[in-house]
Structures are given as structure tokens and as C-alpha cells.
Amino acid sequence: MHPDHATPAGGAWPRPSENYVPHAHGPDEPPHTHPDPGVDPHQALAAGPRALRVGIGGPVGSGKTALVAALCRALGEELRLAVVTNDIYTTEDADFLLRNGVLPAERIRAVETGCCPHTAIRDDISANLDAVEDLEATLGPLDLVLVESGGDNLTATFSKGLIDRQIFVVDVAGGDKVPRKGGPGVTAADLLVINKTDLAPLVGADLAVMDRDAKERRGELPTVFLSLVEDRAATPVAEWIRILVGVRGPAG
């Protein structure tokens, strides 16, 4: 959970170096060196205000790529935007975005994950950080980078070292039990999107039950219901991101 979680309007975002705790050396410690305590190990990224990075995770087929496409449509004109995809085995998600022309090719990077999308977004985020760094190097300052995870399970969440905020996308077709089941994605994501509400009658999913369970699991954290076939601009999600970017101010 973000330290500033309760106050998303906080403006300045804490950097790892601010959490640096000076420490004493024990007698049995071998001689060693420390990184400069004032230097963030991710210095290349954190120098000056940088793009807001939003992770988009969730189970396979819940609509993550469709949401990214919708956000590109909604925000592409007003924000300097780029996307990193993490596919299980292909560049399928990146190709989908390209085919649909929501973003020019140079604004999309596909990261290969070696069968393990959750590793690439949580345990070893290096390839994603490199992709973001490369996008910023080639495109100049950005306002927003969307990082889509490959479809994974309910426990797959993004590392805070990679993203600033995360959205977890589930769909009603998976059954109205999903919010009740919880898991880190559902309980801790900064925004929970329950997608494909248009299908609810077809699969007999009760949206009221999902709403109630989500509130129970998530407390104050927001949840939105969405049908990307009906709302092709993902209006509530785009609005949520607009506010975050606005609070943050323009990137250098």
C-alpha cells in the first residue's frame, strides 16, 4: 500500500531515498559499501517529475487491453501517453493496440515475460523499467504510462517500484463471487474495475452482490462498474486518471 494512500492529493510523492534509515554496522559485518543514501537507485526514472505510471492487472480476458485502448482513445489527445504491455508469450496485446490505431507504434513497448507475467510486474521489474525508461528517452517527457500486465491470477499485483497506481480489472463473466474471493488485486488495487456489465444478465451475475462484496473487501478504495462495449472511452476510469495526473502536475 502506498504510504500516501489516504491522501492521493498529496502532491509530492515519496521517493525511496526519503525512507532511507541510517544504520549502524554490526561487528560481524564484512566491509561493504552503500549506495549514496541520498540517491534513489532508480535515479534514471525519478529525476525530476516523471510520468504517472498506472498498472493495469487482472485475470485473463477480463478486458485489460480493451481498457488500455479505451484510455488511449479518451486521453490520447490531451496527455502525452505511452503503453507497456506484458504478454504471456506474444506481442498480441501490443499488436491489438497497433491494429486498432489507438496509439502510434513508437508509443507502445511489449515486454517479454518468460511465461510469468506476475514475475515481470512484481518480482523482477527490470524489463518493464527499461521499457519505460526507453519510452521516455525516445519520446521525451510523458504525462502517463499505462503498464498492462499479462492476464494472470487474482494474486498478481504490480510492484510499487514499477507503478504509482494500479487498476485491477475483473469481469462479471467470471461470476459474481470474484470480489468476495478477494486476493491482493481485488483488495488492494487503487481502483477496481468490474468490467463487462453488459454480460451480467447473460451469466446471471448480481452486480449488487459484487458491489457489496467489493466495498467490504476494499473499504474506502474506489470500485467502478464498466462495460467497454457500451462506454468505449471508459469514462469513469479516464476521469480517475485525469485527476491523478492533474494533481501530479506536468512532467518535466
Binding site: 549506495p35 549514496d36 515486454v111 515481470a120 518480482d123 521489474i125 527490470s126 524489463a127 527499461d130
Partner: protein, 214 residues
């Protein structure tokens, strides 16, 4: 020298990008040349004796004299004819530097050096010596491909680890040989090539659907 520090550097969980690479195994699995545990064993032995030896020697040399990193990087370029393998090596070198910078104060080194060069420089910064850098490199060439083998061929993970244990003496031997070259001129460092790794990497890079980055 701290043994625990060596374990930190050689740990497969070090967030240095390795999980996305199969060390050339995916291409050979797909070509039907690696199907079972015995094939994986032969693959790993061959890889260890070729690119493993080269990686270990360059890691040892970079550890001995980190200031030589650019020259060593050029030597690895000349030993890595496959652009796909150069790219994979540099991507992993860059990822390793990112992890290394968080752990130790690194001397100057380029933005995207080859993985063995980066490993040697990290080992130096961590207070380790060329032997340790070499053994971490040799070990790394086997473990990455071995864990990919578990995923690609659904092999019994215990059997694969038993294989890694059997390979440990070979790793030590290769690392020892590599470390003896730590002071050699770059042209005299080992250059054992592996034609199927080169060809496989190039072929792999043309696929539309693949599980691993290399």
C-alpha cells in the same frame, strides 16, 4: 570475501531480468533437439563449456579490472555473432546494473554492457574476486536454462535440480579455468562458440509466438 555476498549476487531471484530468458533452450526445444532430461543435461554441458566459459572468463576479467569494461564488452561483441544474443546479453547486463546500483556503489560502466561485463563489475563493487565472479557467471548460465527447462518441458523440478547438482563440479572447473584468464589480453580470452546457440537464437527471434525473450 563474503560468501553470503556471493550468494546474493548469484541468487536466481536477483531481479536482473533473467526470468524472461531461456538461455537458448526454447529454440532447441522447438527444433526437437531437446526433449527430455538427458537432452537438457547435454545442452547444459555444452552451454557451460562454450558460452559459460566465455561468460565466466569475461566476468572474472571485468572483476579484476572494472576499468577495462569497454574493451571487454568489445571482446564479447566479437564472440557473439548473433544479434539476438547480443541484445539478450545487453538487456540482461542493463537489468543487472539496475539491481547492482541498488546494492553497491558501482564504478563507471556503460548503460547497457554485456551481462558478463556487468556481472564482473558488480562482483568487484561487492568486494568479491575474479573466482567468485566466474563461478557466479558459470552457475548463472546453467540455472537460467534449467528453470526454463522445467517450464518448457514440464520436467520434474527435483530431477532438474539433481542435474544442477551433478553439474556443480563442472561449473567449478569452468570457473577455475576462466579465472586463470582474468589478466589475459582480450583477444586471448576464451572464445568457445556454440553454433546451434547462435543459429537457434536467430531463428527464435523471428518467431511470432514465443514464451521467452531469448
Amino acid at each position: 570475501m563474503s560468501l553470503a555476498t556471493l550468494l546474493v549476487l548469484a541468487d536466481g531471484r536477483l531481479p536482473a531480468g533473467g526470468h524472461a530468458h531461456s538461455g537458448g533452450l526454447e529454440a532447441q526445444v522447438s527444433a526437437g533437439r531437446v526433449r527430455d532430461l538427458d537432452d537438457v543435461a547435454a545442452f547444459l554441458r555444452g552451454k557451460l563449456a562454450t558460452s559459460g566459459l566465455v561468460a565466466a572468463a569475461f566476468a572474472a576479467a571485468a572483476c579484476r579490472r572494472p576499468g577495462r569494461w569497454a574493451e571487454l564488452d568489445g571482446g564479447l561483441d566479437a564472440r557473439t555473432p548473433s544479434p539476438a544474443l547480443r541484445k539478450a546479453s545487453r538487456a540482461q547486463g542493463r537489468a543487472l546494473l539496475r539491481a547492482g546500483r541498488a546494492m553497491w556503489a558501482l564504478p563507471p560502466i556503460g548503460r547497457e554492457p554485456h551481462q558478463p561485463t556487468a556481472l564482473g563489475v558488480l562482483a568487484h563493487a561487492a568486494g568479491l574476486g575474479p573466482e567468485e565472479a566466474a563461478v557466479a557467471a558459470a552457475h548463472g548460465t546453467t540455472t537460467g536454462a534449467a528453470s526454463a527447462a522445467v517450464r518448457l518441458l514440464a520436467l520434474d523440478p527435483y530431477a532438474v535440480h539433481a542435474l544442477l547438482a551433478r553439474l556443480a563440479p563442472a561449473c567449478d572447473r569452468i570457473a577455475g579455468e576462466a579465472a586463470r584468464h582474468a589478466d589475459d589480453a582480450v583477444n586471448d580470452l576464451p572464445a568457445a562458440g556454440a553454433p546451434l546457440l547462435d543459429i537457434g537464437a536467430e531463428h527464435h527471434a523471428t518467431w511470432e509466438v514465443r514464451l521467452f525473450a531469448s
